[in-house]
Structures are given as C-alpha cells and as structure tokens.
C-alpha cells in the first residue's frame, strides 16, 4: 500500500513538472545567434563568419524559397555567409500581420505592404539609424538624400523604402503602371487611330463588337475583388488627368486634397460603364469573379478593353505575349492608351519621380542578429551587386558592347523573361523587395540599373509586330504616347500614413464598403434609374465624414511637401 502511494505521488509530480515546463518553454532562443558577430570590425579582410539563416517575410503571394537556392542568392551567401528563408503570404495580409503582432514574434526581416502602419504603431521594427552609421556606408550613400522622408516622428528610421533613385533618372520605355488597355486587333482594324478621349475609346470597342457579331467578345471588363477594388475606383482620377494619388485628387496650385468619390468625374465614368452594360458590352461577372477568373478572361483574348495597372495583369499579359511569339500574331495582345475625358486635358498616367515612403523592408524586434542583416543589406547596395540582381552575370544573362553599354541578346531576353528562369536564377527575388537602387536609377557609366529601362534592351525586346505598332504611331517606345509627368513633390498621396483605427481610417473602410455596394448597382442598373441610385449613394457617402478626411490629407500633403523641399 505504501509503495503504491509513493508511485502515485511520483506520477503526480512528474505530471505537474511537465505541465509547468511546457508553459515556460520557447522564450530564450531569440538571443542564440547574437554572439557570432560580436567584435566584427570593418574592412574586407574580415574573418570568415559562420553561415546563418534568417527568416524573411514578404507580404505577397509566392513560392517559399531559400535565397541560397538561387544563383544570385548563392553568390550573396558566399559574400556574407547569410542565407534568407523567404516566406510568402498565404491569405490576407492584415490578418497575418495581426497574428505576428498579437504573438509579438516576428520573422527577422519583414517586407509588409499596406499593413506597415500597423507594424510601426506596435513597435515591431528596430530603429536602424545607429546600425547604418556603424555598418552601412552604402546604405548611407543611397538613402541619405531621402532621410527627411524616411524618418518617423521620433526621428528614427525603421525601414528602408525601395524607391531611392541613384544617379540620373531614366524613365520607363514601357507602361508599368495604370492605363486603359485595348486589344491590338481593334486598333489594327480601325487603322491605328490616335485615341485620346474616353468616348473615342469606348466607341472603338463598340464598333469592333458590332462588326464581329457571334464571336462572343467582351467589350469591357473590370477587376473588383476585395483587395483590388481600386482598379474600379481609380479610373475617374486618371480620366480627369491626374496620376495615381489614391482616393484623392490634389490640386496643383493650392495642394488641397479632394476625395473624388462623389464627384462628377466618378459619376461620368460609372455612367459610361452603365451605358456599356445596357448595350451588353460590359462583363457583368466582373463584380462576382475572383482575380483568377478575371486574369483567365484577359488571357483568353476575348476581352477588348479594360483599365488596370500593368503589375496586376502582368501574368495574363505575359501569357498572351508568349502565345504571340509562337504564332507571330499579336492581335490578342494589348496596348496601353492615355485616355482622358476631354480632348484638351493633359494625361498624367506616368508616375512623377517619387519616393514612396510607406513601403519598405525593415528588421523586426525578434531579429536574432541585426548587425549581420544590415551588413547584408549594405552589401546589396554596391554597384556590382545591383548589377548582379538586375542584370545578372555578364556573358550569361547580359552582354556589354565596346562602348560599355549593357544589352541583352535576343536569346538572353527570352531566357530572362521566362518565369522559371527568373525563379531559379533569383531575379524574381532580388530585383525588388530588398534595399535597392530605385526604379529609374542609373550607374555612374550611364547604364540603367533596371534592365527593363535600358533603351537597348527595350528596343531589342520589341517584337516585329511591336515595331510595326510603334511605327504606326510614330513613336520609339510605348511610353512616348503618354505625356511627361508634372512635378508633384507630395506624390504619391496614397503613401501618406493614416493612423491605425483613427476616424480617417474608419472613413476609408466605410467608403470602401459603400462603394463595393453601390458601384455594381450603378453599373448594372437600368440606365433610367442611374441618377436615382447615384443620389442615394451620394447621400450615404456624405454621412461618412469626408470633410475631416480631406482636411487630414490636405494637412499631410502640406507636411510632405515641406519635408521634400527641406523646410
């Protein structure tokens, strides 16, 4: 009996002990790697450091990979001994980031999208100022001109944006942002007319559909899913001759912000879509389709026109391009047009040179060894490594002519455009999302840092049918059809940070909800009822407190202009 009781007590104690240990585990691992870099000086002849792997979260969908599994990443690992395990986003960004914050445990490096405000307000990033001063001569060189815009209110820098232009600014030869796209066969049949107004654009589509009955064509389509709803709400702003400032239009003179959601331009745009719908030219499913269905429709070549940003539809356009290369017929490919409402409005589709200061890459408070990470970042920002991550390896993915100009042969272009190659070589992971020379940067010898902006590459990558098209319009590159951007020191207004949970943020959420509800109604309504529904929408909209929001944006724009002008 005694013996039995003894064993029972033992059992009890063991169970208690295991329970307690289970509750206290997993807290002390964070400091494990921090000693490796202690006392590491500067200079090239550093002692070889142990290899380490850091975690890296990128808030876009993609394939998870170790950087050292790519050709470029392998070279960086040899230089620094650092490998990054890249984790991509699955599902909703805000939810994922919310989980990081709630658990207070983060990957070492974070590249958030719109959720960056949330991470900043919960203190998830470490300040980088001292680290840069000590270990980041290259970071300093690239980013110092922008310090004003990068500093948080407390004077610290918490993340490195990816848009610091180095050297002479080179504008893009192709359209990388928003535009009204139209299928090339439509232009061809109409004899390559110069189209400027929205009416002309839509009439072109109408004519083509009329001439080709029974082909099951879709005149116009729109992307309206949760996260991409701006593809439906932004066009009025562009049609009125403004660049993408988000939900507001900023007056060039007074710098006053105006939310155009209830303005005449929005009404006019929706009314045109409403007419299209009544004529059976608008794809009703636009409002229920998910993004994959939308992309599939564009890739199918049945859609004549749509508004979107190039980076949203890249996948579908690349598919069409590949198909065109095989058949030699580019009828189903698209061309970007700078469409505006009125003949004498200057289009502003091309982004002004800008510094996006609310997106970037930061080191989290959970990071095991910030020093090595910042050194890795710094190492990325040498001219040589920027060439490596944008152009690749000389002789393999690019060549140099006798004048020192970089170019790509036809074969190299084909190879570097292939998605699978971009993944295995590492272009896909290193061209963007790291501290880098921003788009439009150039090297001291005049070569463009981004291969896509090198005129030689752009020219070489144009197919014969591209060239024919360009010739028909009398231009050398597709962006020449668009007006040069005006200077807007605040640009882009969408990068203005709005405080988490503030009335302004609740306003934007409610505005979004309201528009998601009313815009489909307006477009699909019987044209006779359009005005009634519009009035209803405006009434609801005015209840949301737009004045406060506009005031806030006006103030913030003024602040940003002062910062940029160094006041």
């Amino acid at each position: 009996m005694k013996k039995r009781r003894f064993w029972l007590s033992c059992l009890t104690i063991v169970m208690l002990a295991s329970l307690l240990s289970a509750c206290s585990g997993g807290k002390d691992n964070s400091k494990a790697g921090s000693n490796t870099s202690a006392g590491s000086g500067n200079g090239a002849q550093e002692e070889k450091l142990d290899k380490v792997t850091f975690t890296y979260f990128n808030a876009v969908a993609g394939k998870d990979i170790n950087t050292n599994e790519t050709t470029i990443g392998k070279i960086f690992e040899e230089q620094t001994g650092v490998n990054f395990k890249i984790e991509h986003l699955v599902g909703d960004e805000n939810t994922k980031v919310g989980t990081f914050i709630a658990s207070n445990s983060y990957p070492d490096v974070l590249v958030p999208g719109g959720s960056i405000d949330k991470l900043l307000s919960s203190g998830s990033f470490i300040p980088l100022n001292d680290l840069i001063d000590q270990y980041g001569p290259n970071i300093k060189r690239v980013y110092e001109p922008y310090y004003n815009l990068m500093k948080a209110e407390d004077g610290n820098i918490y993340f490195l944006p990816m848009s610091a232009v180095v050297g002479e600014y080179i504008s893009a030869p192709n359209i990388e942002q928003g535009a009204f796209w139209i299928q090339r066969r439509v232009l061809k049949e109409a004899g390559y007319p110069k189209i400027k107004t929205f009416d002309d654009y839509l009439n072109l589509i109408r004519d083509y559909v009329k001439k080709h009955p029974g082909e099951d064509l879709t005149g116009y389509i729109a992307l309206t899913t949760q996260d991409q709803f701006f593809a439906l709400t932004n066009p009025p702003m562009h049609l009125a001759g403004y660049p993408n400032d988000g939900g507001v239009i900023i007056d060039m003179e007074s710098h006053e912000a105006n939310d155009y959601a209830d303005d005449e331009i929005t009404k006019r745009y929706l009314q045109e879509l409403n007419k299209l719908n009544a004529e059976g030219l608008f794809d009703k499913s636009s409002f229920v389709d998910n993004r994959d269905q939308y992309l599939a429709k564009i890739a199918s070549g049945k859609v004549l026109g749509f508004f979107d940003y190039r980076w949203q539809v890249g996948q579908a356009m690349n598919n069409l391009r590949e198909a065109a290369q095989q058949t030699g017929n580019d009828d189903l490919e698209y061309m970007a047009l700078p469409i505006v409402f009125d003949e004498n409005t200057k289009d502003q589709y091309l982004d002004p040179p800008s510094f996006v200061n609310n997106r970037g890459v930061g080191i989290s408070v959970s990071a095991k060894d910030p020093v090595r990470i910042i050194k890795y970042f710094d190492n990325l920002l040498t001219d040589e490594n920027q060439i490596l991550s944008n152009w690749g390896i000389e002789g393999e993915t690019y060549s140099v002519d006798e004048n020192g100009r970089f170019y790509r042969t036809e074969e190299q272009i084909k190879q570097t455009n292939a998605e699978s190659f971009r993944e295995s070589f590492g272009f896909k992971y290193f061209e963007y999302n790291w501290p880098r020379y921003g788009n439009g940067s150039s090297l001291p010898d005049g070569n463009s840092v981004g291969a896509g902006r090198q005129p030689e590459v752009a020219q070489m990558s144009y197919s014969d049918s591209d060239k024919k098209l360009l010739e028909a319009y009398g231009i050398k590159s597709f962006s020449q059809l668009f007006a040069a951007p005006d200077e807007r020191p605040w640009y882009p207004a969408w990068s203005i940070q709005i405080e988490q949970g503030s009335p302004a943020q609740i306003f934007t959420q409610k505005k979004g909800d309201l528009q998601r509800k009313y815009f489909p109604k307006l477009v699909l309504a019987n044209p006779a009822e359009f005005d009634k529904i519009w009035d209803e929408y405006v009434k609801e909209f005015n209840k949301l407190g737009v004045k406060d929001y506009e005031q806030l944006m006006t103030d913030e724009v003024a602040k940003k202009v002062d910062l940029v002008q160094g006041k």
Binding site: R5, L8, S9, L11, T12, M15, L16, L19, C23, D92, N94, T95, G98, I101, A102, N104, D117, K118, S121, S122, G123, S124, T224, T225, F229, K284, S285, F287, V288, N290, Q293, Q500, G501, Q505, I506, Q509, D513, Q515, R516, K517, F519, P520, K521, L524
Partner: protein, 307 residues
C-alpha cells in the same frame, strides 16, 4: 450531515490521492481556460500591442458603443442569425432524413457507397469548395445556369452571387452539400443502438415501413437529436466565417456580411484588437444565454438535456 466541515475534510484526506491526481488538470484548466479571460480587459482599453498591460489607456465601454451603435450592426446580426437558423434547420432535417434512408437500406455495398460520396465534401476546405460553388454558379458557362437554360426555366443566365436575396439559399445548400454526410454519422450510430426485436415485433403487428420509422426509429434517436439541438443553439452566433467571406462580394454584402466578417474588417484588419474582443465577449454572453434557455426548455418539457 454531522459536522459538515469535519466530514468534508475527512473525506478529502481519505481521497487525497485522487485529489492530487486531479490537481494537474485543474492547473491546466486554470491556465488555458480561465487565465485567458484576463484578456477580456482589452475590450475596455484602447489596446496597443507594443505597450505593457499597465500602460494601456482605459476607455470604458467605448468599443461596445461603437459596435452596437454602428448602423451595420443590426444588419450584421440579422444575417448571422438568419444564416445560422437556416443552417440549423436544414442541417437537422437533411441529416436525419438521410440517416433514416440509409438505415432502411439493406444492401450494405450500396449503403457504403452512398455514405462515402455524401461525406467526402466535408474534407474539402472551404477555399476549394467556394471556388467550385462560384464556378458552378458562374454566369458564363456555369453548370447551374446551363441546366436551367436547357430546361427552359430561365431565359438568361442569372448572376447568382450578385443577387443578395439568393445568398442565404446558396449558402444553405452549400452547407448541406458539404456537411450532410458527416452529420448523419452520429444519427446512424444512434440508430444501431435500437433493439432489432422492436422492429420485428412491429412488423408482426402489421406496421408498415413508414410506421416503423415514425414509431421506432425516430423516438429511438430522440435523445441524441435533443442534445445536439441544445448544443447547436448555443453555437447560433457562430455561423462560420469562411463561406460567407469567400462567396461574399460587394453586391450581396447586405446579406452575406456576418458578425465575424464585420469584426475582421473593423477590428483585426484595422489593428483594433479591442473591438474584436468586445465582439467576442458579446458573442459569448449571447451564446451562454441561448444555451441555458434551450437547456431549461428541454428540462421543462421533460426531455433529455445537456446538464
């Protein structure tokens, strides 16, 4: 009851081994079920994750007020309750019907096949399932529209997911398709416990098939039905979140947005954790009341009950 307290301690010391053995589980219960309740205090603060518990600003009932005063709230509650109720009724009726039908089958092979097919969709995630559903309902080439047009019932394809009034129906049918097979399992199990001699006796007395179902099978599973009903009523506010989120869009938002989506939008996505907690508390309290009410009614009616 002589010397209540003394008797209690006497008994306690006699059973001390048992008491010791239950201590770890008591600790587990406290740590994982009661300590988190402390987190409820977040609902009364403007919670900022970066700060410690004592540096937070207390705001009283602000978040509850925001929740209840928002004009969407009534609509969101209506949707939540309506969809729950539809799921509850449809779920019970279809599952019990299918279980009875399966129970009547004599060919074991056929029964197995039907059962397997009917519970397979349960293992598909909602992400995939909603994709299947929206493809089937699509206006260009979706099978539902094609069949209805072929039968001549409709002339033009209907944008099923674009009409709010269809949403509850679509959701109800989807839930049934996905879960009916799974839900029958417990009823089938209950039916196997019915004594076969009852059926034989009834047959000798001349009872037909429907009479046997009505008088033997249904009363035989009554206790299981009542207990499941009570539990499900307690969960009435938990409509689930995925199907509504994945199938919902701007056009049917008036009917598809439920409490969980509302909280996701205005709570978690905006970093407003306090609001999420406030909504969670509200749900718990309502569920608690519903559960006790249902249980009490069952007790009054002299039925089996949960506790």
């Amino acid at each position: 009851m002589d010397g209540g307290l003394k008797g209690f301690f006497h008994k306690l010391s006699k059973q001390r081994t048992l008491v010791f053995m239950s201590v770890p589980f008591l600790i587990w219960l406290i740590i994982f079920k009661y300590l988190p309740l402390w987190g409820w205090s977040i609902a009364f603060q403007d919670y900022k994750p970066a700060k410690g518990m004592f540096e937070q600003t207390w705001v009283g009932l602000k978040h509850f007020k925001f929740l209840f005063q928002d004009e969407h709230f009534v609509r969101v509650m209506r949707n939540t309750l309506a969809m729950s109720f539809i799921n509850l009724v449809l779920g019970f009726v279809t599952a019990i019907t299918l279980a009875i039908l399966l129970n009547e089958l004599r060919k074991v092979a056929f029964k197995r096949v039907v059962q397997t097919i009917s519970y397979l969709p349960h293992f598909i995630s909602w992400v995939v399932a909603s994709s299947i559903i929206s493809t089937a309902l699509s206006a260009d080439g979706g099978i539902i529209n094609d069949v209805l047009m072929w039968l001549g019932i409709i002339k033009e394809p209907i944008l099923w997911l674009g009409e709010g009034k269809y949403f509850w129906g679509i959701l109800g049918v989807s839930e049934v398709w996905k879960n009916v097979g799974w839900n029958t399992i417990i009823y089938l199990a209950a039916m196997t416990s019915i004594d076969p001699s009852q059926y034989e006796a009834a047959e000798i007395d001349g009872a037909g098939r429907f009479q046997r179902i009505w008088n033997i099978t249904l009363p035989g599973i009554k206790s299981v039905v009542v207990i499941l009903l009570i539990m499900n009523i307690g969960n009435l506010l938990e409509t689930g979140f995925e199907p509504q989120y994945l199938l919902g869009n701007g056009m049917n938002v008036d009917y598809s947005e439920n409490l969980d989506i509302f909280v996701l939008k205005y709570g978690i996505q905006m970093g407003n954790f306090s609001l999420s907690i406030a909504a969670g508390m509200f749900k718990t309290v309502v569920s608690f009341i519903l559960l006790f009410t249902a249980n009490h009614i069952a007790k009054r009616l002299g039925e089996d009950r949960l506790f």
